[in-house]
C-alpha cells in the first residue's frame, strides 16, 4: 500500500518507537502472508492451505453460485444495526443504502480485472435519482478512500481490504478471493454510507452515481498530500498528546496485539481442524472396510462409518464458516486500527502546527506587542474541530466494534453449537438403530 510508508514515518515522537512499531510490524508480518489472511477464508486455506489444509477448500469453494451468503451477510448487517440501541435514530433516519455484489471478470489485452456492482438506493436530495447501479473495480474503491481521507482528514475512514499484488501466491481471480474481497468492499462502503459526515462527501456521490470516474486528478493529489504530510511530520517536534488521545493510542496498540493473537489462534484452530478432518475421514473409512468382513456387525459398523462421515461434513461447514466469516472481521479491524492510528497522527500534526505557530506568535508578541494573528486562531479552531470529530468517530467506532465483536463471537459460539448438534443427532440416530437391532435379535431369539 502506498499509504503505509508515510504512515510509518509519521509516528509521533512521544510514543516509544518500539511500542508503535510492534503492532505495526506484527500487522506487516500478517500482510506478507496477508493476501491469504485478508482474502481470508477460502483463500487462506488455499494458500496457507498449500501446506496445511487442502481438505477445506476442496469441499466447497463455490460460494458465488449460491446467493445465500451475501444476502445473509446483508441481513446480518442490518440486524446488527437494528440491534444497536445507540444507533437507533440513525437507523430510523437512514436514507442511503449501498450494496456491493455481482463480481465480474474483465479480460482485455492490457489487463485482467474484476468489477463489482455497486447499487444505491436513497431518498437524499443530493442524488438526482432514487436508485443507481454502477460497476466499480478495486482501484475505484481505492480512489474513493484516498479522496475521502484527503478531503476529510479529521475523520476516521474505514479500511479497504489490502491491495496486495503478490502474483503467484494467491490467485486474485479465484472465486474465494473475489468473494471475500467483495464482502470487504461491501462492508467498507456500508460503513462510509452510514457515517453522518462521510456519507455526504461529494466524492462518494460521484463514486456511487457517475458513469465514469475521473480519477487522474485524485491520484495525483494523493501523492502530493502524502509528501506534504511527510514533511510536516519531519519538521515539528511534537508535544505530548492530551491524555485522552494517548489513551486511544494505547488502546489501539493493545487491541491490535490482541487481534493479532486472535487471528493466530483462529488460523491455528483451522489448521488443527483440517488435520483432524483428514484423520477422521480415514477413521470412517476403516469402519466401512471392517463392515465388509462382518456379518452380524456389518450394519452397526456401517452406521458408525456413516456417523463419522456426518461429523466430517459438520466440521467442514464449521471450518468454512470460520474462515469465511470470522477471519475477515478480524482482518478488517486490524486495518481499521491502522486507519485510526493514522488519524491520530494527523491530529498530532495539526496540534503541533498550532503549537508551533502559537509559540512563534508569542515570541513575536513579546517583541512587537502585536495581537495574536488570525492564522493561529484558525489553527486552534482546526485542532478543536479535529479533536471533536475524532472523538465522535472514536465513539462511533467503539460502538461499532462492540457490536461487531459481540456478533462475531456469538456467531462463533453458534457455529460450534451447531456443529455439535449435528454430530449429536447423528450419534443418537445410530444408537436408536443399534438398539432396535438388538431388540430384534432378542425377540427372534426368544421366539
Amino acid at each position: 500500500m502506498s499509504v503505509s510508508a508515510p504512515r510509518g514515518l509519521a509516528s509521533s515522537g512521544q510514543k516509544l518507537i518500539t511500542e508503535i512499531l510492534h503492532p505495526l510490524s506484527a500487522a506487516e508480518e500478517q500482510l506478507s502472508p496477508g493476501p491469504d489472511v485478508s482474502s481470508s477464508s477460502s483463500s487462506s486455506s488455499s494458500v496457507g492451505g498449500g501446506k496445511q489444509e487442502p481438505g477445506l477448500t476442496n469441499g466447497t469453494p463455490v460460494e458465488m453460485s449460491n446467493p445465500a451468503p451475501a444476502s445473509q451477510l446483508l441481513n446480518r448487517l442490518q440486524l446488527d444495526d437494528d440491534l444497536d440501541a445507540d444507533a437507533q435514530d440513525l437507523t430510523e433516519t437512514r436514507d442511503l443504502f449501498v450494496t456491493v455484489d455481482d463480481p465480474k471478470k474483465h479480460v482485455s489485452t492490457m489487463e485482467t480485472y474484476i468489477t463489482y456492482r455497486v447499487s444505491t438506493k436513497t431518498t437524499r436530495i443530493e442524488f438526482d435519482l432514487p436508485e443507481y447501479s454502477v460497476r466499480r473495480r478495486y482501484q475505484d474503491f481505492d480512489w474513493l478512500r484516498t479522496k475521502l481521507e484527503d478531503s476529510q482528514p479529521t475523520h476516521l475512514i474505514p479500511p479497504l481490504p489490502e491491495k496486495f499484488v503478490m502474483k503467484g501466491v494467491v490467485d486474485r481471480f479465484s472465486e474465494d478471493f473475489v468473494e471475500t474481497r467483495m464482502k470487504a468492499l461491501d462492508k467498507f462502503l456500508k460503513r462510509v454510507a452510514d457515517h453522518p459526515v462521510l456519507s455526504f462527501n461529494p466524492h462518494l456521490n460521484a463514486f456511487l452515481t457517475a458513469k465514469d470516474l475521473n480519477k487522474r486528478q485524485g491520484l495525483a493529489l494523493l501523492t502530493k498530500v502524502g509528501e506534504s504530510v511527510k514533511q510536516v511530520a519531519g519538521g515539528y517536534k511534537l508535544r505530548p498528546r492530551p491524555v485522552e488521545f494517548c489513551a486511544m493510542g494505547e488502546y489501539l496498540d493493545t487491541f491490535s496485539q490482541k487481534l493479532g493473537t486472535l487471528d493466530r489462534i483462529a488460523q491455528r484452530i483451522l489448521k488443527e481442524q483440517s488435520e483432524y478432518l483428514t484423520e477422521l475421514r480415514e477413521y470412517g473409512a476403516v469402519y466401512s472396510s471392517w463392515a465388509g468382513s462382518e456379518e452380524q456387525l456389518q450394519r452397526p459398523l456401517e452406521g458408525v462409518a456413516g456417523c463419522v462421515t456426518t461429523c466430517c461434513g459438520a466440521l467442514e461447514d464449521a471450518s468454512e464458516n470460520m474462515s469465511q466469516d470470522f477471519l475477515p472481521v478480524l482482518r478488517e479491524y486490524v486495518l481499521y486500527i491502522e486507519s485510526m492510528k493514522n488519524v491520530l497522527r494527523k491530529r498530532d500534526q495539526t496540534q503541533a502546527e498550532y503549537e508551533g505557530r502559537l509559540e512563534a506568535a508569542i515570541l513575536h508578541k513579546q517583541e512587537d506587542r502585536t495581537p495574536i494573528p488570525v492564522e493561529v486562531e484558525r489553527c486552534q479552531d482546526k485542532v478543536e474541530c479535529f479533536n471533536a470529530d475524532l472523538k465522535a468517530d472514536w465513539e462511533r467506532w467503539q460502538r461499532n466494534k462492540r457490536q461487531d465483536f459481540k456478533q462475531l463471537l456469538t456467531g462463533m459460539a453458534d457455529k460450534n453449537i451447531n456443529y455439535y448438534e449435528k454430530c449429536q443427532a447423528a450419534w443418537e440416530s445410530l444408537i436408536t438403530v443399534l438398539q432396535d437391532k438388538q431388540t430384534e435379535d432378542k425377540t427372534s431369539e426368544t421366539n
Binding site: 481442524q273 483432524y276 459481540k406 459460539a413 444408537i431 431388540t439
Partner: protein, 449 residues
C-alpha cells in the same frame, strides 16, 4: 454381585429400547466412573456361568513392589490384588464377609494363560491386556508404571479373570481355581501338570512349516477372517490414536482464547465482563478434552481385547492344522506300508530300487524271512490303522469342541462389539453435549457484551 447387577441394568436398557423414552435414558450419560467401569465389564463378560455363580471375583487394586529378580537385579514391578468371596455369602441386609485376597504379578497371569492355551487347544483363550501400552497418542504415557496404565491394566486383568470364570469349560479348571485361591504353591501346581513339555513339543511342530493337503474349509475361512480382523482393528486403533491427537490439539488451541479474552477484557469497558467470563468457558472447553479422551481409552481397550483375541483364534486354527497334518501323515504312512506289503506279497519290484539290486546280487530272501516281514508289516499296518482311527477321532473331537467354542466366541464378539459401539456412540453424544453446554455458556457471555 457386580457382574450380575450390571447385567440386569443392561437388560433393562435393552428391554426399554423401542420406546421413545429410550433415547433419553441412553443419553443420560452423566454416569460416574465406577458405573461406566461396570458397563465396560458388563460388555466384556458373558453372564451367569458356573464359577461366577459361586464366586465373586475382582482385581481390587494394584500396588508397586520392589524386589530382586532371577538374576539378582533390583526391579520394580506391579502386583494386583485378587479378591474372591463366595457369591451367596451376603445375607439379606448383612455385611458381606471379608473377601479372600491374594497378590499376583502380571507374569503369573501370563503363566496361567499359557497353561490354559496348552491345556485347551480347542478353546479360544481370552487374551490378557497388553503388556506394554500400544497405539498410544502423544499424551498417553507408554510407561509400564504409569498410574493410568496400571489402572487400565487392572481393569483388563479383572476382565480376563471374569472371562475365564464365565467360560463353560475353562471355569471348571482346577489350576484356575487354585490361581484364585492359593497364593503359595500355585506355581508348583501348574508346573506339575507338565503342560510345558506338551507345549514345547507342540510348539516345535507348530514352528515347522505345515503343509496340510486337505485343509478344513471352515478353519481356513476362520483363519482368513481373523487375519482380516487383526489388520482392520490394528489399523482402526492406529487411526483412532491419531484422531485423538488431533482432537486434543483442536481443544487445546481453543484454550488460548481463554487467555486472550482475559487480557483483552482488561482494556474494554462494556465488553470486559462478558469477555472475561467467556474466557473462563474457553478454559473449561480446553480442559474438557482430557476426560473425554481418557474415557475413550476404554473403548480402545475393548477393541484391543478383540485385536488380541484374533491371536487366540489363529492359535486354535493352527492347532487344528497340526492335527490335520498328523492325520494326513499317518494316512500317508499307512499307504506306504500297504504298498510295501503288496510288493512283498507279489514279489514284484515295480521300480528299480536298492532292494531290487540286493536281492539280485545276494539271491532271493527265504520264504521264512519274507513271511516274518509280511507279518511285521501287517502288524504295523494294523497299528497304523488304529492310529488313524485314533487321530480321526481326535480330529473330529477337536473340530467339534473347537467349533462349539468358535460359535460361542462369535456370538460373544458380535454382542460385545455391538455394545462397545453403542457405548462409543454414547461417549460421542456426551462429548457433543459438553461442547454444546460450554459454547452455550460462552454465547451467553458474548451476548452480554
Amino acid at each position: 454381585m457386580r457382574p450380575a447387577s450390571s447385567a440386569d441394568s443392561s437388560q433393562m436398557m435393552m428391554a426399554d429400547s423401542g420406546s421413545s423414552e429410550e433415547v433419553a435414558v441412553i443419553c443420560n450419560t452423566d454416569i460416574t466412573s465406577t458405573e461406566s467401569e461396570n458397563n465396560i465389564i458388563n460388555t466384556m463378560v458373558e453372564r451367569g456361568t458356573a464359577l461366577l455363580r459361586k464366586m465373586e471375583i475382582s482385581v481390587a487394586e494394584a500396588d508397586k513392589r520392589t524386589g530382586k529378580n532371577t538374576v539378582n537385579m533390583q526391579e520394580t514391578y506391579t502386583v494386583y490384588l485378587l479378591e474372591t468371596r463366595p457369591a451367596d455369602s451376603v445375607p439379606e441386609g448383612g455385611t458381606p464377609a471379608a473377601p479372600d485376597t491374594l497378590w499376583r504379578r502380571y507374569s503369573e497371569f501370563e503363566l496361567l494363560r499359557t497353561y490354559l492355551l496348552v491345556t485347551y487347544p480347542y478353546i479360544i483363550i481370552p487374551p490378557l491386556p497388553e503388556k506394554r501400552a500400544e497405539f498410544v497418542w502423544h499424551k498417553l504415557s507408554a510407561d509400564n508404571l504409569d498410574p493410568d496404565f496400571v489402572e487400565r491394566r487392572r481393569v483388563g486383568l479383572e476382565n480376563f479373570l471374569l472371562r475365564v470364570a464365565s467360560h463353560p469349560v475353562l471355569s471348571n479348571d482346577k489350576i484356575f481355581f487354585l490361581f484364585l485361591t492359593e497364593e503359595k504353591g500355585w506355581r508348583e501346581a501348574v508346573l506339575e501338570t507338565g503342560f510345558q513339555d506338551k507345549a514345547d513339543s507342540r510348539l516345535k511342530s507348530l514352528s515347522a512349516m505345515l503343509r496340510v493337503k486337505n485343509p478344513d474349509k471352515r478353519f481356513t475361512a476362520l483363519k482368513h477372517y481373523s487375519d482380516e480382523l487383526n489388520t482392520v482393528i490394528s489399523q482402526l486403533l492406529r487411526v483412532r490414536a491419531r484422531v485423538a491427537d488431533r482432537l486434543y490439539g483442536v481443544y487445546k488451541v481453543h484454550g488460548n482464547y481463554g487467555r486472550v479474552f482475559s487480557e483483552w477484557s482488561a482494556i474494554e469497558k462494556e465488553m470486559g465482563d462478558g469477555l472475561q467470563s467467556a474466557g473462563h468457558h474457553m478454559d473449561t472447553y480446553a480442559a474438557s478434552i482430557d476426560d473425554i479422551l481418557e474415557e475413550e481409552e476404554h473403548y480402545a481397550d475393548q477393541l484391543k481385547e478383540y485385536l488380541f483375541y484374533t491371536d487366540s483364534v489363529r492359535s486354535v486354527c493352527r492347532k487344528h492344522e497340526l492335527i490335520q497334518y498328523e492325520l494326513e501323515m499317518a494316512a500317508q504312512d499307512l499307504v506306504y506300508k500297504k504298498q510295501q506289503k503288496e510288493e512283498l506279497a507279489t514279489g514284484a519290484v515295480r521300480i528299480f530300487s536298492l532292494k531290487g539290486m540286493t536281492s539280485k546280487l545276494f539271491g532271493q530272501e527265504s520264504q521264512e524271512q519274507r513271511e516274518s516281514k509280511v507279518a511285521a508289516l501287517e502288524q504295523s499296518i494294523q497299528e497304523g490303522e488304529e492310529a488313524i482311527k485314533e487321530k480321526n477321532t481326535e480330529s473330529q473331537e477337536f473340530v467339534q469342541k473347537a467349533w462349539n467354542d468358535i460359535e460361542r466366541f462369535t456370538a460373544q464378539k458380535d454382542k460385545d462389539l455391538r455394545e462397545a459401539l453403542i457405548s462409543y456412540a454414547i461417549m460421542q453424544i456426551s462429548m457433543c453435549k459438553k461442547g454444546i453446554q460450554v459454547w452455550s455458556n460462552a454465547k451467553e457471555c458474548f451476548n452480554k457484551m
